[in-house]
Symmetry: D2
Subunit: 351 residues, 4 copies
């Protein structure tokens, strides 16, 4: 559970750089005899693609996934599932000017500090492109948790400071910004357009909701499921905050207001967000994450070069104005991966 | 890195229930030849004890730590350090009335769902008492990171809705509420007293600051140090939210405002909170956590019993009104443990 | 699965030095609701005690185990089980003369090389005393595998060059040397007595037999159950060789002789030793381990001191003439621990 | 460290089935800035190819490795190294007759028992073909340990019952059977030819020798380096026994004969095989493994089909007569992987 692998039983490893030959993932520990095709995974990958809004990245990757192992005649075999996605539209040369410059807000300077070397093209390993492997793995995780009745869905709660109300998760799925509130979405689109015109970018808040999760998933005391969910989500480069249930608002509540009374038909409120003492309670799991604005902006910025000399940088390349909505399927994937792992761990102690 | 163990190289395992014979921790992987005495650990444990404010728990544990292995003639040997703290003031019988009732806001109901059995006395394994082992382990982690120049300190940023300004971390250490803003602290104490009188409890926000951390700690892509910090802190029962640097505020910023310009003498701002792409940048690491109000309130609450029948519960026992300030050394311990682990991992790839 | 912890789901950590205050073990991941008392564990520990033969160590430890957590009202709760055994008969001062000398055949010189420090008293962490924790953990592992019908038993196949025939595993249990062949045992006792008189020690071979193991335990390709069994057994200081089924004899067989034909009622032979491609087949698992003679001999030996100067050493202390029969319950414990872990892992993928 | 991943810091994951699209490996945790090209890896893979003896498999795989990530401009970057080898000469249809039959001595029956499904073509995941990924990973491991002065070499000590004397490890490298004793090799070749003519196969013994290993590698008590070496080697399907130093012969020695006296210039003998208490001593590490005869024989064998009905099977396909010499670079790879991991772990505790 270090570096590029996560999970105890349902283990996911990703590999690949933004402008290398390919990226991919290994899913080790997937139960056998689950129907799985490349089309199943492709469907999730397609949800992650740049949209058609003008604020979307013009990079066009086919993102065609290839299953290289672990599936036989349409079913998982229990052996490692190796997935590969070729990088077809890689234009590494476009980054030549960034070889010796550190882009503010990116990992260029920290990778160099850590390793003394880095693949500077498109952020290398730290690129959002790495998340393709996560989404592919998440598609498989969904297949592990679905038979237990668990669904994972996320929606845009806020973008560029504009808040939306959740009307229906289903409505979010078909909206361009994964926002179920049409009026708010209209203003979000305007705000995105303004930011794009200004060479700037925007952040936002995504809410992830898990329904149908059985009680009992999660382990004391370091392996709590909220701890693992926080790790999974905070491990996305764009995310600077994670809260569960009432989250930061709980800090201003009294115990009598925050505690969820228990009725014969379940909890009366859900400030706990479906998790008590790190173990699922059977109530909806509700998580919100704060996404920072994309650091690649089309404005000159102050920085230093690899020798520490001052420089001004203007980041070119092909970028979105906001990680929303593309971060949505990635968040769902990470949550699904954590749930699949804990579901399997719970089965191990159940006779 | 599951269940009751955390870390890859500097590994901490805790064990023990609130009202069992003892609690403790194993620290495996601590480098050899570090000066370590029981007094070193005791000092940190004493910082975690209930205070003398009327809002503090009257439970009085000596919390006397015993080193059972891994230290020889005052120095660590590289072998597992086993620490034990006897539960002297355990009054399990006081909980007899709670044997078949689920306390709202606690893990009683989820432990029962997970395991089909639970030690109901004082929350059993889910008790805050478990954190004594974490604090003890944190004291050792501090000894690992201190020679690298790293210090970890936390302070009360908000309590019961009253915000404090950070004047100086040193001032926080000597204040009863670990709050460096005397005026705010005065109001916090009043608010605590009001809550106690009302049989209620309060939440708050703690900020943890890491100084002197070298750049380069953290690993792509699941082992990012912000991900591990979020996991370590969200794994405390009281914490419902974690944010790093600008955190949730970043969601409302533009990229041009959020990016930290890089100057020849370092970053000009610190919205990143000292971490870029999951790797430390050398800037201060800044983390804030949201603590929910303690769920043990002295008021009747609606619940069900183990057979699912409706019941009203009034939680007795000896409880604080807020986890603040006792959570402060625990947060520091968790952050120190993560840093020690990543510092050692970084050494492994450095020739 | 490094250092002092083993297992993925049924995880065992041991701690403690030969002449420190105590030794112990943490068992994390044990399923809940298993009957468990200190007496259950004590029974296994008593099997590991020095015998009453004159060739046995005169060190007399009560080896009284204390359960400190994870058991509530006689049943496991699913939380970590902490076990402690006080070192009552520790006589560390007796080792003062060995503080700066390296005993041949022991880990003194390698611990010093690794850590730059060591607890020299009785071998410190490398002492056979550490295995008390393993045996205690093994007693719990037995409780996990027994309901699945799995039994683990070992016997003395060879001692000091004298081979025994296996007549019945049950007979071994009640024999002083755990040897089911009375005639061979008589000669083994004589050989032990000769060695003791000569200030020397003897090695031997132990065979471990697992019955009732269901097919399907073990994982490709690094987590094969034979690989994990080899690791578990080779990790005992005394063991220099491990073989499974036909073992080294298989190297001299032809494929047509070595392959086990499969009949409608199972395998016709068992050269595979119950494991094919790293996964149990349902046949008996048969393992043999080679135990070296105990290195603590009562004769002068050539060595160097901590400064590298030549020296002659005569090891005093209280030692057995052979690790047999005391190694027997330890081997059984290690095998039981591996089986418990893999049984739980298999449950996790079974719906 | 379960299933298809091994290692704590230098972590190797393999994936792929014998007749799927490809096999491969991920090496995560490799230190940065190591020169690495596909040619470096290819060299080791070529050593694993079938030989030109008539006893060798006629399957001809190009085994062309492709580096998909983790290397930039000829140097490792510290990020996961993804390696892929396409299966070009896969003839899955040839196995159609084996879809419902269990080959004796193979994992067909155990995979089916474990997973309820299997890729029957060429052994699927249990095929020796999986070891290509191990050898590729081993080539990288060699690059990690070489700068520390460590070399790993293996040779054929016995084949079909014919023993060889070790004259020089270098001589083994250039011999067709990796046997440095020309006279013995001549008889081995004859024996192989006899076996091939008889439709049968042969086993043998390989010895692996590690030179230049610094003292101090290995961890108490479950992470001993001999334990990890035994696991790494016993995890090869063909290996049924592992011994270190004197190995099984130690069981018949006395302590006074077995202990290695320590002189001012090192150990006088090496019965310990370079490891004491699980930690390297600086002496040569000497390991022997027993390889069973390849189970794919060209003779009718008794078996059952997937419904449990009796059947006679004659295994076709393209097979070697013995795993020797092809197992040699695989053994070297596994030992190199273990050493790289422990070398890095040791660096982590060294200041």
């Amino acid at each position: 559970m270090s570096g590029n692998t996560t999970g105890v039983l349902f283990k996911v490893t990703t590999w690949g750089e933004s402008h290398g030959p390919a990226t991919g993932a290994i899913i080790d520990g997937c139960p056998p005899r689950i129907d799985l095709s490349e089309a199943d995974i492709q469907e999730e990958l397609d949800r992650r693609k740049p949209g058609t809004l003008s604020s979307s990245s013009p990079r066009r990757e086919a993102d065609r996934v290839e299953i290289l192992s672990g599936v036989f005649e349409g079913k998982t075999t229990g052996t490692p599932i190796s997935l590969m996605i070729r990088n077809c539209d890689a234009k590494g040369d476009a980054y030549e000017g960034l070889r010796d410059l550190y882009r503010p807000g990116h990992g260029d300077i920290t990778y160099q500090a850590k390793y003394g070397i880095r693949d500077h093209r498109g952020g290398g390993r730290a690129s959002g492109r790495e998340t393709a492997g996560r989404v592919a793995a998440g598609a498989i995780a969904r297949k592990v948790i679905a038979p237990a009745g668990i669904t994972v869905a996320a929606w845009t709660k806020e973008l560029g400071g504009i808040a939306a109300r959740s009307l229906s998760l289903a409505a979010a799925e078909t909206s361009p910004l994964r926002c179920p509130d049409p009026e708010a979405e209209k203003r979000m689109v305007e705000r995105l357009e303004e930011a794009r015109a200004a060479g700037d970018t925007l952040g936002g808040i995504v809410e992830i909701v898990v329904r149908g999760c059985p009680p009992g998933l999660g382990e004391p005391v370091f392996g709590k499921i909220d701890a693992d969910l926080a790790r999974a989500l905070m491990g996305l480069g764009t995310i600077k905050g994670v809260e569960i249930g009432a989250g930061f608002a709980a800090a201003r509540m009294t115990g009598s207001a925050c505690n969820d009374p228990i009725g014969t038909d379940g909890f009366r409120t859900n400030h706990a967000g479906g998790i008590l003492a790190g173990i699922t309670s059977g109530a909806e799991i509700v998580i919100r994450v704060a996404c920072k604005p994309i650091p690649s902006i089309a404005r000159p910025q102050q920085t230093v070069d690899i020798q520490g000399r001052p420089a001004v940088i203007t980041v070119g390349g092909r970028h979105d104005v906001s990680v929303i909505p593309r971060i949505i399927p990635i968040c769902e994937a990470m949550v699904s991966i954590v749930l699949a792992d804990h579901l399997m761990r719970q089965r191990a102690i159940t006779r």
